[in-house]
Every structure is written in C-alpha cells, then in structure tokens.
C-alpha cells in the first residue's frame, strides 16, 4: 500500500511546487511582504490578547500595591496589601480550603476516571464509547451555577433528594451545607461529580490511541491485567492525565461559582476560597487593592502549580 500512496503524493506535489516558483518570481521584491505576513496575521489575536489579558493582568498587579476604594484616587502603599493577606486568618483559611478542593477537583476525579476507563475498556477498545461520551460530559456542559443550585436543593434537609434517600434507610436528615464538618466535603463532592466525566472522556479517547499490538506483545511476554495497566495503559495515558490534572487543578484553585451559590463561604467561613475572598474585598468591602493582591497571589499559585504538573509531559517529549 505504501508504494501507491507515495506515488500519488509525488504527483500532487509537483504542480504545487511549480506554482510556488512562479509566485516567487512574479512577486519579485514583494518577498518582504511574505516574510511579514505571519506577523500581520498574528497581530490581530495578539492585540486582542494584549488588550483583554495582558493589560488587565498588569493592571491587577499594579493595583495590588495601592490602596484603592474603586472610586477615589489610588494611593501607593507598597507591600501592605500582601502583608495584610498573610496576617488574615480568613485568607489563610481560604488557601487551605483551595488545597482541600484540589483533592475533590483533581485527585478524586482523575483516580475515579482512570479506574472506570480501565473497567470499561478491553485492551484499548471501548465498548459503547458514544454513550459514555455524551452521558459523562453532561455535568461538564452544565453551567456551574445551575449545578450549584440543583445540588443545593438536593442537599437540603427539607425535601432534598439526598436526605429523602437517606430517610428510606432510616437516617435522620443531615444539614449537609450547614454543618461545620460536612459543608466542605459536600461542596467538594459536587466538584468531583463535575470533573470526573471530563477526565474520563479524555482518558477514553487516549486509550483508543494506544497501539493494540503493545497489549498483544505484553500478553506474549506473560503480562497479567495489572502489568498491562501499569506498563501499557498508564504510560499511554500520560498526556491525557497531565491535561486532566492541569485543567482540573486550575479549576480547583479558582473555584468561585460553586461556593458562592451553595454556601457563600459558610458555615462560619469553613468553605471560603481565595476567589470568594477576592470578590468580597473588591465588591463588598471596596478594598480593590487588597483584592488585586489576593488575585495576584492566586495567579502566581496557578502558574507555579501548572508549571510543576506540565513538567511531567515535557519529560515524555
């Protein structure tokens, strides 16, 4: 098969090469324009990126060194905003909660998705892939606000679906979102529910691209199910795992919507997160400088952790 394909390609290539030569000749000194064309094409997205990402980012960092109420003239106050953050127990608590959300957003979904992928696939083949793709992706497609509102209903001690189910087996209603010991896990599990489908879709697609001959070779070498998973499936999924981890980790660090809709950071600040603290400062307390400092901390945190995770992918390449 290889021979005939190459022939066709050669035949196709020939005229295009000719055309290229003619183009070059006819354009003459205009070759300069050609060289600049890529930059010209890049200019538009770059301008958009600079205007809507880089400039706001730079402004946020700059504002973090000012005291500003959002209205009057900002006054420079050096590192005060950052020092205030370090001394603020609520902010430190928010960071800790973000750390806990890393487990619910990243560890649980990735592990669960990996397990399900292995269970649902047979040496690189997925049966009924389309059904899973659609079914698992639904939580991802739903706006987080809708997810939050719906789960808040389900968690309610008054006619909430979860407490109704527990009632069937004789468990008294539990105020999941109101109790200090259950609120954070309750919100976290919703995040896991949303994220595992996304990870799973990635993994299923990844499994498809693993060369099946590797499984055959492993069988010949006498590998069992575990060895096949450990030495064929897992390395083959490295790329998707890194992507799933990075994306869900960023989601865990900047989580706002779920917390805002479900608990407002309560009870007694036990579910507050950095993004919620940013919102509080900027729009409730009108401490824009402090909010900018918190936002800067969050951005740095995301960059550092992403860099750390992405190193695993680079090792691969």
């Amino acid at each position: 098969m290889a021979a005939s394909d190459t022939d066709v390609e050669r035949r196709r290539e020939a005229p295009s090469r000719r055309r290229t030569t003619r183009d070059r000749r006819s354009s003459g000194p205009g070759g300069v324009g050609r060289r600049w064309l890529p930059y010209g094409l890049l200019a538009v997205p770059l301008a958009v990126y600079a205007t809507f990402v880089l400039y706001p980012l730079a402004t946020t960092v700059r504002l973090s060194f000012y005291e500003w109420d959002g209205l009057t003239t900002p006054t420079f106050n050096g590192l005060t905003n950052y020092l205030d953050l370090v001394r603020d127990d609520t902010f430190i608590g928010a960071l800790v909660h973000n750390g806990a959300f890393l487990i619910f957003y990243t560890v649980v979904p990735v592990a669960l998705a990996l397990l399900l992928t292995v269970l649902l696939t047979q040496e690189g083949t997925v049966r009924g892939l389309g059904v899973y793709r659609v079914g698992l992706f639904v939580p991802q497609v739903m706006p987080m606000v809708v997810v939050g509102v719906v789960w808040r209903w389900m968690y309610s001690p008054v006619d909430g679906a979860i407490n109704e189910l527990l009632g069937l087996v004789g468990v008294d209603p539990i105020p999941f979102l109101g109790d200090a010991s259950t609120a954070l896990p309750a919100v976290g599990l919703v995040a896991s529910w949303v994220q595992y489908g996304f990870a799973m879709v990635l993994f299923m697609a990844g499994v498809q691209s693993i060369d099946r001959t590797l499984y055959d070779a492993a069988s010949v070498d006498g590998a069992g199910q575990w060895a096949k998973f450990r030495y064929v499936t897992l390395p083959g999924l490295r790329g998707p795992i890194v992507v799933a981890t990075t994306v869900s980790m960023i989601a865990a660090l900047r989580v706002f919507d779920l917390v805002f809709v479900m608990t407002r950071g309560g009870p007694a600040r036990r579910t507050t997160v950095v993004a919620f603290e940013i919102y509080q400062r900027a729009f409730q307390l009108r401490e824009v400088g402090g909010a900018a400092a918190a936002a800067t901390v969050l951005v740095v945190l995301i960059l550092v952790l992403s860099r750390f995770v992405l190193r695993f992918q680079e090792e691969d390449a």
Partner: protein, 455 residues
C-alpha cells in the same frame, strides 16, 4: 445592607471570570472632579405643576431596583403620572441591587450616568459615592418637603454622611426611600387559635408561648440559616430588647465610645443559644435556606417567622398576622430592627437638579404610598382605606407607625463596620451550632469591631 433576600437570586449575575473581577474597574487617573452642578439655590418647586426651571432639560434618567412584578408595575405607573404632570420624559433603567452596586459607583457623577438612582445605604456604597463627590446634598430640599417631620432624624440618619463621606449617620441627607422595612414576628393565625394564643405583650410571654408550642409538638419558629444572614435578624430582635436606641446609634455610626462585648449583648447571645438548644427553631435549620424557610411557614408549617416586612407579599394576608418584639413590661416597646429601603438619590452632576429632586419627592410621597402598598410596606403611611382589604398589611402599617411614633427604630447590626457582616454571620453560625459560648461570641465580635473602627 443584607436585607433584600428576594433580590438574592440575581446575585448570580456577578459570576464573572474571577481573573477579571478586579480589573473591571480601573482608575482613570483624575477622579477628583468635584460636584459642580446642583445646589444653585433654586429651591422653590413643591408638589404640583412644573416649577422645575425652564432652562433645565426635560429628560431624566433613573436607575432603580424595582425589577419584580408588582413593584415594577407600580414604579412604571407612578413614573408615567410624573411624566404627565411635568410634561417631561423619564427613562427608567431597572437593575438588580447587586448589578447596581457594581456599576453605580463609576457611573454616578459621570455625564452619561443617571440623574436619579437607588443608592444602597452604608459606608461601602453611599459613603464611597459621597466621598467621590457623586451625590447631591438633599438636606435643604428635604426640610422643605417635611421629610424630617415625617420620618424623624433617627431614621433619616441612615441616609446621611458628612460631605467627605467619612462620618456615617450625620451631616447631609443624600436620599430617601419609598419602602419601609421592619423586622418582626409573622404568626400563623390558625395555629394561634388552636392553642388559644394571642400576640404576646411582654418578652416573657413570648418565651412562654414558644415553650407551649414546643410542648405541643409544633415548630415554634420557622428558621433557615444556610444563607447566614437570617440569624442577624433573629439575634438582633433579641439583642434590641436589652439595649436602647442611643447605644445602637453609637454602635452603628461609630459615634460614642461603645463596645460590642457588653453584658447585654452576651445575655442576648445566651437567649439565642438557649432557643436553639430548646428546639424552638426548625430542625436542621443550619442547612435550610431562607427561601425554603419562609416557604415552609407560608405552607402552614411552624407558628412564627421572624423576618422583615419585605416577605409580606409572599404570605397569605388573611391567615398571617404580624407583631413587634415585645419588651420587659406590658406596653413598653424596645427598639425594633428596621429602616428604609434602598434610597433614591440624586446625581451631583445632573443637568436637571430640580426635576430630579421633584421625582424623588414624588416617588416617596404620601400619595405614591397608596400605590406602593400594593407591593410592600411603604415608608409613608397610606390611608386606612388603601389597606382595608389586607389585614396583614394593616398590621404592618400600624407597627411601622408605632415604631416611628415612639422613636424606637433599631438597626441592622451588620452595619456596624464594613467587615461586621462577615464576622457577625460567622460568629452566629458558631453560636447556633454550640461551637462558641456567649462570652467568646461577644469577645470575637468586639475584636472585629475595634479593628475596623480604627481604620
């Protein structure tokens, strides 16, 4: 600040990309443009036909918060009446309170901003805009309109700041609202009949009533606190029976040398904790939302609902009654949490200052109250005829009038400082979950109060 539960749904709106949250409003350099137009001495127009100066534009732009059902209809109808009477065009742009809180500070005092707007009370909103020179002083106009006689200094103080926007509760008047808010006890008349109960005359009677209801297997107080702010009203109602209005004014406005860790505030915390321990509140209240709790009460579950007058429209006016928190002895009225709704204020830079002031006066007039009462408790007292077919509103109107007459208007405690809402709600959740004791509760709150009042 936190008393518009029904607008809360619309708070989903600001779920913007977090990274851009802060940068959405950048400093544009010179923000110090001073209030220029405005107070140019022409203070004649009252009521009737348009005396609004001929050299003014005949157009007004109004940003208000009347977005829902009946209140929107009433606002439209009253605005149309105003347009006819003055031969002008008023463009209303209704927004949710939270939208308005986010956009108004930058728009107020700008050329293309509104002439009249609903400006939320408190340091973070009205105070900040006054500081930036965005609002017109309405003190003189208010005196001519008789606002100080109708509502009294104590109530209007909530809409006052000094001209620098620094000192809350004194100085210039920056707005008045058509809506009144009073926090008290809605009660289930059928259940009261069943157990032979009547609205209590003293606080002791109230507590006995709660015990009676509990003994009979009823839920005495329908309550849900997953949203955290409802407990402010519950604690506030109890706390107000231990203190007087001058303490409350000092605490909220930061005027006198008062503290939060007082014997009285600790006693009130003790009462609240005891009520929770006795099971006077809905079971599992910590996980129940405010909306679910009033819906339960509206459905006939629970004898009492302690909340603000704003919920009246959701309740059956014939089977639900209302009474104020009673005091130590019969006939004594302790301070009652309440105030005005979100006030209408005038932009410092409006080109039609007289027309704008007339509009505020009209929307908050006694005549307008006859229409507003269809939607909620108006700040001016409507005639008895206007509420004759609504026994619940009759209770509310007379309660509001009684509070004004006796000058016993208390405060939303979360106004004490910009950070106090957060601190108070968190501490109340701890208190209600038995994770702190009354003394530790007031000590923690005093720490927050002292820290933020030094700023």
């Amino acid at each position: 600040m936190k008393r518009h539960p029904r607008l809360r749904i619309t708070m989903l709106a600001p779920l913007l990309v977090v990274g851009l949250l802060v940068t959405a409003c950048l400093p544009s350099g010179s923000e110090d443009e001073q209030a220029s137009g405005g107070q140019t001495g022409d203070t004649t127009a009252t009521g009737g036909a348009s005396e609004a100066a001929a050299d003014e534009p005949d157009e007004l732009v109004v940003w208000d918060i009347y977005v829902r059902g009946t209140e929107r209809d009433v606002a439209e109808q009253l605005t149309a009446q105003f347009e006819d009477e003055h031969g002008v065009t008023v463009t209303r742009e209704p927004k949710s309170l939270d939208d308005l809180k986010a956009t108004l500070p930058l728009a107020m005092g700008q050329a293309d901003g509104p002439d009249v707007a609903s400006v939320n009370q408190g340091r973070a909103d009205m105070g900040a805009i006054v500081k930036a020179g965005g609002l017109m002083d309405l003190t003189e106009f208010g005196r001519e309109q008789g606002w100080f006689d109708v509502w009294g200094e104590n109530l209007l103080a909530r809409n006052m700041f000094d001209e620098n926007g620094e000192q809350f509760g004194t100085g210039n008047l920056y707005g008045v609202a058509p809506q009144a808010e009073i926090v008290g006890w809605f009660y289930n008349k059928d259940m009261f009949d069943t157990y032979g109960l009547t609205p209590p005359a003293t606080f002791d009677e109230l507590e006995q009533m709660l015990a009676t209801l509990k003994d009979n297997g009823e839920t005495p107080i329908t309550f849900g606190n997953v949203d955290a702010w409802p407990a402010i009203h519950t604690y506030g109602a109890i706390e107000h029976t231990f203190v007087d209005t001058s303490y409350l004014n000092d605490l909220i406005f930061g005027t006198g040398d008062v503290a939060f860790d007082t014997e009285q505030n600790a006693q009130a915390a003790d009462v609240l904790q005891r009520w929770a321990d006795e099971g006077y509140f809905t079971k599992n209240f910590s996980g129940i939302s405010y909306d679910d709790s009033w819906a339960q009460f509206a459905a006939g579950e629970g004898a009492l609902l302690l909340t603000g007058s704003w919920i009246a429209g959701e309740l059956d006016p014939d089977t639900v009654g209302f009474f104020l928190t009673p005091g130590d002895s019969e006939g004594s009225l302790p301070p009652q949490t309440g105030g005005m709704g979100v006030p209408l204020a005038v932009s410092a830079d409006t080109e039609a200052p007289n027309l704008a002031k007339e509009y505020v006066a009209w929307m908050t007039s006694e005549q307008a109250a006859e229409s507003w009462v269809e939607a909620w408790l108006p700040s001016q007292t409507p005639t008895e005829d206007a509420v004759a077919d609504n026994p619940l509103m009759t209770d509310l109107v007379s309660s509001w009038q009684e509070v004004l007459d006796q000058d016993q208007l208390g405060h939303y405690l979360d106004w004490a400082s910009p950070t106090f809402y957060d601190a108070l709600t968190a501490q109340l959740q701890e208190l209600l979950a038995d994770r702190t004791d009354p003394q530790a509760f007031v000590t923690a709150l005093e720490a927050d109060y002292a820290e933020s009042s030094q700023r």
